[in-house]
């Protein structure tokens, strides 16, 4: 049971991260110029 709760919590984090990455439009960050993460390699 404990393992299941942790595993599904990790899944939740992974899904939330990808939604934020690809579908959430950040107002603060304009583009690659001022950050380390371009959303690519």
């Amino acid at each position: 049971m404990f393992q299941e709760i942790i595993a599904f919590a990790i899944l939740g984090f992974a899904v939330a991260f990808l939604i934020r990455k690809f579908f959430w439009k950040s107002k603060k960050k304009k583009d690659c110029g001022n950050g380390t993460d371009c959303g690519c390699s």
Binding site: Q3, A7, K21, D31, N34, C40
Partner: protein, 699 residues
């Protein structure tokens, strides 16, 4: 004592070593996201200075003057004219190259006239003796009304003196170099009268550039003080002439060049490196050496990383308490992280070589050399820089097109840049090549795998310029263009700059792409471990019924159950749904899953396969490569990753537009969905049909 925060703007012509000064001041305290070679946008870092002062250092794009002709030059003017900008500089540091002082001083005089405290940095002081150059610093300081820091950013000389000058910026004289009224006394007198509280040179820049400042609207001023565009241009030229007259007068006394003492090898080297035959031969030889080295040198660390993660996976599976979390760790998370870390050596080597070529000054020769070829295909010599920096990532490369003045050339460069082999393709190429191309020597010295990798890079580049040729014919946009490129001196690459660049780019891959790969690996593991209906949930019963008349040992039985479950898992159903479309390309449903998951980011391909094969693995294969090597097609009984499938996959990934971020940046830069949609359709179509033809011919 409280810390005093100040903003310092680094400004200067391209190739004056501005970024090297930035690196010397900030070390690794940087927030960057630029492509190699040129600063596209503002780059921030910080530096602790004496007297408890903390400086926010801003590295601005290289610009020749405050008369902007391209988007990245506008960035400088917009900042300098907007006092309300939180990054507005307390002090400007203008970086110049001792060999090109005359040209570099133009922008210095303009910034001085904005009455911003300005320090003049004369860089590359270590070259002075070799070039026979001597400077009268006190004289120059007096005439240019500033303090001068004579530095060598390569050798770290004069940096402490520069820091001292920055700290005492309040003592710098604020007098302008040129009285702006001399440009057109009558016109400027009227301006002064209408806006008595405004700086006259700022008003002039607002009138002549595409910017607004303070509460003044540019059009309002232009309408009040009507002058035609041609008249304004004429006055701008007059301003430039006046400034050069001033600079000439100053340098006549302040700068001496003794040609007899110069021991310059630059001209000799240029004759060879930009030669119409030898230039290209040397360039291709260098490329060839780079790709050979990437494969040969990174093999040992890659094997080590691969086996370490395989051992870690086995250890987790055996030692941790059994359950879903342990399975997720050993089959999803650890192989997922391994799929990122394994490519660090290759990416680091690639950027090591690119940084060395840039640092040495050779890259500018390549730009010059390629301009002749590029023009025939509707591109500019400046397109070479985005195309080469696209080997890192298409996103900053597309942003780098901002310094191409001509819109048609810029648009074509944006559209074709994603064909360049980016670092996200490298993991895919590396694993497929190692599976289907034998590791043998050609002519005794050439590694066949290295040659294949080089071929793929050349293929990406060739496709980019061929597509540019087609677009040049198709797009009905007319505009004239010219090409100017700076030829910096040859220098021995500076270890610190190369090191920072390699660390930055590798970190960007591991942190940026790594997080996506890991998240997708986790989701894939769940999708591969769960499924709907009884085909998945009653897999054991179904297998028992299927083999009721056959004797299976325990291992064979487990293998059949694992296959049944994977095939009927959520991901298995998705893969099988697209199987009819990808079967003619030589791919099975498992590869289909990797194609789907890598649509958003192509580097996910290897991690996806590592996760899928880990879930379905009953043969106890350990490393990613051995898992892929052992994969057998259930119907044909042949290896899944054979030569035909491998080549088909390589071509698919060479051409396919599998990067959501690139589509987004294309939309942003072109301000239209039309162009990214065209990119997606054209590149995906080309990928599908070339993979199809390759597989059908080779199979």
């Amino acid at each position: 004592m409280s810390v005093q925060n100040i903003n310092v703007a680094l400004i200067g012509n391209p190739n004056t070593g501005k970024t090297s000064v930035f690196n010397q001041l900030t070390g690794l305290n940087q927030q960057v996201g630029n492509y190699p070679g040129i600063t596209v946008e503002k780059k921030m870092g910080f530096c602790k200075l004496p007297n408890n002062v903390k400086a926010n250092i801003l590295d601005l794009p290289g610009t020749y003057s405050l008369n902007a002709s391209s988007m990245d030059e506008s960035v400088v003017i917009e900042l300098l004219l907007n006092k309300n900008d939180k990054l507005y500089p307390d002090v400007a540091v203008v970086v110049t190259d001792v060999e090109n002082l005359k040209r570099n001083l133009l922008i210095y005089t303009q910034i001085k006239d904005l009455e911003i405290p300005t320090i003049l940095v004369i860089n590359m002081s270590d070259q002075m003796e070799r070039k026979g150059i001597s400077l009268d610093i006190p004289y120059l300081e007096e005439k240019l009304k500033t303090k001068i820091a004579l530095v060598s950013s390569r050798k770290g000389l004069g940096i402490n003196a520069l820091k001292e000058l920055i700290v005492s910026y309040k003592t710098l004289p604020n007098e302008p170099c040129l009285n702006a009224s001399v440009i057109d006394p009558e016109y400027f007198e009227k301006l002064k009268h209408a806006f008595p509280n405004q700086l006259i040179y700022k008003l002039w820049l607002v009138i002549t550039q595409d910017v607004n400042f303070s509460n003044l609207d540019r059009n309002e001023i232009r309408n009040t003080f009507t002058k035609s565009n041609s008249e304004l241009k004429r006055l701008q030229q007059k301003e430039t002439i006046k400034r050069y007259q001033f600079i000439n007068d100053v340098l006549k006394e302040g700068l001496k060049v003794d040609a007899s003492m110069a021991k310059d090898v630059r001209a000799k080297l240029d004759r060879v490196l930009t030669h119409k035959i030898w230039g290209y031969a040397i360039f291709f030889a260098i490329l060839f050496l780079i790709f050979q080295s990437i494969f040969s040198w990174s093999a040992i660390p890659m094997d080590f990383i691969d086996s370490t993660f395989a051992s870690l996976s086995s250890w987790a599976a055996e030692e941790l308490p059994s359950g879903i979390l342990t399975d997720l760790l050993s089959q999803g998370i650890i192989p997922g992280i391994g799929g990122v870390i394994i490519f660090i050596p290759q990416i680091a080597f690639l950027f090591l070589f690119i940084s060395i070529l840039e640092e040495s000054g050779y890259m500018s020769r390549v730009v010059f050399l390629m301009d002749k070829i590029m023009r025939r295909f509707g591109l500019s010599g400046k397109s070479v820089v985005p195309l080469i920096s696209g080997t890192a990532c298409a996103i900053p490369a597309i942003m780098a097109t901002r310094n191409i003045e001509n819109w048609k050339e810029r648009l074509i460069t944006i559209l074709v840049t994603p064909f360049t082999t980016c670092s996200a393709r490298l993991p895919v190429y590396a694993i497929i090549i190692s599976l289907v191309v034998p590791s043998q020597r050609v002519f005794g010295i050439l590694n066949l795998q290295g040659l294949t990798l080089m071929f793929l890079y050349v293929l990406g580049f060739a496709t980019a310029i061929l597509s540019a040729y087609i677009l040049n014919k198709v797009l009905k946009l007319q505009s004239k263009t010219y090409f100017v490129v700076e030829m910096p001196s040859y220098k021995l690459p500076l270890f610190k700059n190369v090191g920072i660049n390699v660390v930055e780019k590798t970190k960007a891959f591991v942190v940026g792409a790594g997080k996506i790969i890991l998240a997708i690996s986790i989701i894939l593991w769940f999708l591969a471990s769960y499924g709907p209906g009884k085909e998945f949930n009653e897999a054991e019963t179904i297998v028992k019924e299927r083999f009721a008349n056959t004797t299976l040992d325990e291992a064979q039985f487990e293998n059949e159950v694992a296959s049944q479950k994977l095939e009927n898992s959520y991901i298995g159903l998705m893969g099988r749904a697209i199987e009819p479309a990808i079967e003619p390309l030589g791919y099975d449903w498992k590869i289909g899953i990797a194609l789907i998951s890598s649509f958003a980011a192509r580097e996910v391909f290897v991690g996806t396969l590592a996760t899928i094969y880990s879930v379905g693995d009953t043969e106890n294969e350990t490393t990613i490569k051995s898992k892929m090597q052992a994969e057998i097609h259930p119907e044909t009984g042949e290896k899944v990753f054979n030569f035909a499938t491998g080549i088909s996959l390589l071509l698919f990934y060479a051409f396919a537009m599998q990067c959501a971020s690139t589509l987004a940046i294309t939309k942003k830069e072109t301000n239209s969905w039309k162009w990214p949609a065209m990119q997606l359709v054209f590149m995906s179509g080309l990928a599908y049909f070339s993979a199809l033809i390759a597989y059908q011919l080779l199979n």
